[in-house]
């Protein structure tokens, strides 16, 4: 994969927006001691080359009554990962589905309302023909997100 070289201004711009995506580019320009056009230009380039994929707000899952985040570790019979993945990703509530190397062949994370739904989802996955075993881990408390942990 091609690596992109970022300079100090790029990194400062990213860091600032990671802390608060709504910071005005004018303010970033002032902090970096460069013109607003420079910052606008940098921001557009970072978006265009895909370093910045977008922006989002972080909601408090407790406040909005979201369900539980649940991790599924799925072991399957060899060579069937594509067909199983295609089935798993259609299950309601799935957030991330991935092929994996390690103890599990497929790993998935879903958001499910209650313990009944967790059980039902486990059964749906377990019922697929090529699936050997499904492990379930339920995330407790609020998961800690640390998007600022990237090293540039």
């Amino acid at each position: 994969m091609k690596e992109i070289k970022l300079d100090e201004i790029d990194i400062k711009l990213i860091r600032t927006l990671q802390n608060d995506a709504r910071t005005s580019l004018k303010e970033v320009a002032r902090e970096c001691n460069v013109s607003i056009d420079t910052i606008k230009n940098r921001y557009n380039i970072l978006k265009k080359i895909g370093v910045i994929r977008g922006s989002t707000i972080v909601l408090n899952p407790k406040e909005i009554g979201q369900g539980n985040l649940v991790f599924f570790g799925i072991q399957i019979m060899h060579h069937y990962s594509d067909s199983v993945i295609n089935l798993v990703k259609k299950i309601p509530g799935m957030y991330v589905v991935t092929k994996a190397i390690g103890r599990y062949d497929i790993e998935a994370i879903a958001i499910l309302d209650n313990i009944e739904k967790i059980g039902a989802t486990k059964n749906i996955i377990g019922d697929f023909q090529q699936v050997k075993n499904v492990d379930v881990d339920i995330l407790v408390d609020k998961p800690l997100l640390c998007p600022r942990n990237f090293e540039f």
Binding site: N19, I52, P92, V96, A100, F150, E151
Partner: protein, 161 residues
């Protein structure tokens, strides 16, 4: 955004249509101007800005951030760590894990592991170092890992990566 999310939000928090529309809109693009949100909802920009402040004060919106593509800045893949610790020490270990650079999500678990940590990884050497640094922490008994390949993100912004 999954459909369930909106229903739960409205029910529990007594949020009205405008609040939900603001959350929905900012979830997709946190930098969207209040003016353009206002225009699409046919209300005044002032209303949007007041609602936004209230949603922040109520702690429904915790913050906002840009989503970075890790593969563009030198990371090759994502790894999930399943960590087992000595009983009753999960919180203590979790606090240390979340401070490790490159770990982007971590949580306590109920199930076959006690803690899950998801990290962006630069290369194989980096993966080994990270695994070792977790293993060396006090009270950590076992670390199992899954390297993610061909990841499909059904809700792309969830992990903010």
């Amino acid at each position: 955004m999954p459909k369930e999310f909106r229903i739960l939000t409205g029910d529990i928090m007594n949020l009205d249509e405008i609040d939900l529309a603001i959350l929905d809109s900012l979830k997709k693009d946190a930098r969207k101007s209040f003016r353009s949100i206002a225009r699409s909802l046919k209300v005044s920009p002032d209303t949007i800005s007041k609602r936004y402040e209230r949603l922040r004060e109520q702690g429904i919106i915790v913050g906002s951030t840009v989503v970075i593509n890790p593969s563009k800045i030198g990371y090759s893949f994502i790894t999930r760590f399943g960590i087992n610790v000595k009983p009753a020490y999960a919180s203590q270990v979790l606090e240390k894990i979340i401070q490790i650079p490159n770990v982007i999500v971590a949580s306590k678990l109920v199930g076959s592991h006690d803690i899950i940590a998801i990290s962006v990884i630069k290369n194989f050497k980096h993966l080994c170092e990270l695994r070792n640094s977790i293993l060396e922490m006090p009270y950590v008994e076992k670390v199992e890992l899954g390297m993610w390949i061909e990841t499909m993100e059904l809700c792309p912004y969830y992990f903010l990566i």
